[in-house]
Symmetry: D2
Subunit: 146 residues, 4 copies
């Protein structure tokens, strides 16, 4: 399965007084990666809404916070469609860095995972938020990519 | 002129890695106080939009950050309509605390001002964001209050 | 088990262009309720940090988004400690409204649930984010309350 | 004077139920551009804090909201140091797009300005937020660039 990657920089806006990224803001990072993955496939969510009256919404998400990310870090956010159903899809996602600071042994890059998510995304009608089918063209592109 | 007050508690979500309230979040606090002032006068902004097709938007704001507010502080946010025009109004606002911690001289409460704002709010049509008159009933209530 | 309740109003800052509360912002509401529950028990998190060097952080959270909450709604956020371990505790939480708008049948209030969460909170040392025991006085107060 | 540019995409997290960017979030975009400008000059704010004990904070900002930016738009954020003082500096900033959608007359790109800011940034000591001199190496690099 394709693993889409999107870079995210940690700004002051993302952190809290604990000195690390505020726990709710990881959901922003995960959504940016999903949005950019769909854009990469050729889909703009504002056009989906205008042309087809469809919104993609999050039905559920399971988050594990493994390690705090800090101000100014350069992160990578992954997005992989693990399951593709008729009216929904399940993304597996990770936030990690490949910092050379973490590793002084000269044995190459080392990945540090900060947060993981399993997110179920459903298609709904923009007018009343009722469940509907994921547009066929999106399902086709995701299937092709996988 | 009436000075409306609204309490705001500083949560982790409001702070940044500097240990203080993130500078952009004061705009949230100022808006909460303006919204609650209008509610206090009897106006709900969702009803204004549905019933009259009017949104109240911020045209400009001048902010002075005097002193950083910290995690867990209990703040007061003021809202005073200083000028009332046909299509806009100007609010004077302050964020302050009346902490007894600040004063060990036994001479009562002392106000510490963290941030001040002058905000110009304009009425626009929800459909195209074009300027329109502030609804007469709002103007009447604000005038009466003052 | 005691079910602590905290009211939250939906402001513009909480919503997104879908016209509903942004999915990541429910985590803010859940945290406000947990913070106020601890304050209700007598614990201020800034004092815990200064006095004992302890932070309470979220280790994992499972979220179900059942129905979108809209701009200007008055919500209730619950917080119940379901499990109390030595170094962590598990909260069950709900965001709901008891709107009379939902019910025109004259049969009293009806609760509408928007979002539910299971959140595992762990104690860590503020200096290095290493796991530590939940302070005994907090465990005692939570046990007494339950 | 050099005009530094930084691209910003509008995600759902940035918008509100009015369908446009939440007014307080423009301050995030302006700060990202200032941060990236300093990084471009060779300065990382976490290192400034650790190495020199200095934070750069916003003392005041004047914002004009000219036109609402919408979900999914690709924006440009500018940052120009207009005045460089011993303990502070004044940035002129703009948020705009160079959308071809705005112009169907075949006469090239057209810039649409959404928001402008004048921001005064001061250096303070991280320990007590007291004013201090802007580090000489930063002043030198900014002067050279201009």
């Amino acid at each position: 399965m394709t693993r889409f990657l999107w870079p995210v920089r940690v700004y002051y806006e993302d952190t809290d007084a604990g000195g690390v990224v505020y726990y709710g803001n990881y959901l922003r990072f995960f959504e940016r990666a999903r949005t950019e993955y769909l854009r990469h496939l050729g889909f703009e969510q504002d056009e989906l809404r205008e042309r087809m009256g469809v919104l993609l919404v999050v039905r559920s998400v399971n988050l594990d916070f493994l390690r705090p990310a800090r101000f100014n870090e350069q992160l990578q956010v992954s997005a992989t469609v693990e399951t593709l159903n008729k009216a929904s899809m399940v993304f597996q996602q990770e936030i990690f860095s490949t910092s050379s600071k973490e590793n002084h042994h000269g044995d190459g890059e080392q990945s540090v995972v900060y947060c993981t998510a399993t997110a179920t995304i459903a298609a709904v009608r923009a007018t009343d938020f009722r469940a509907c089918a994921v547009p066929a063209e999106i399902r086709t592109e995701i299937s092709r990519e996988r």
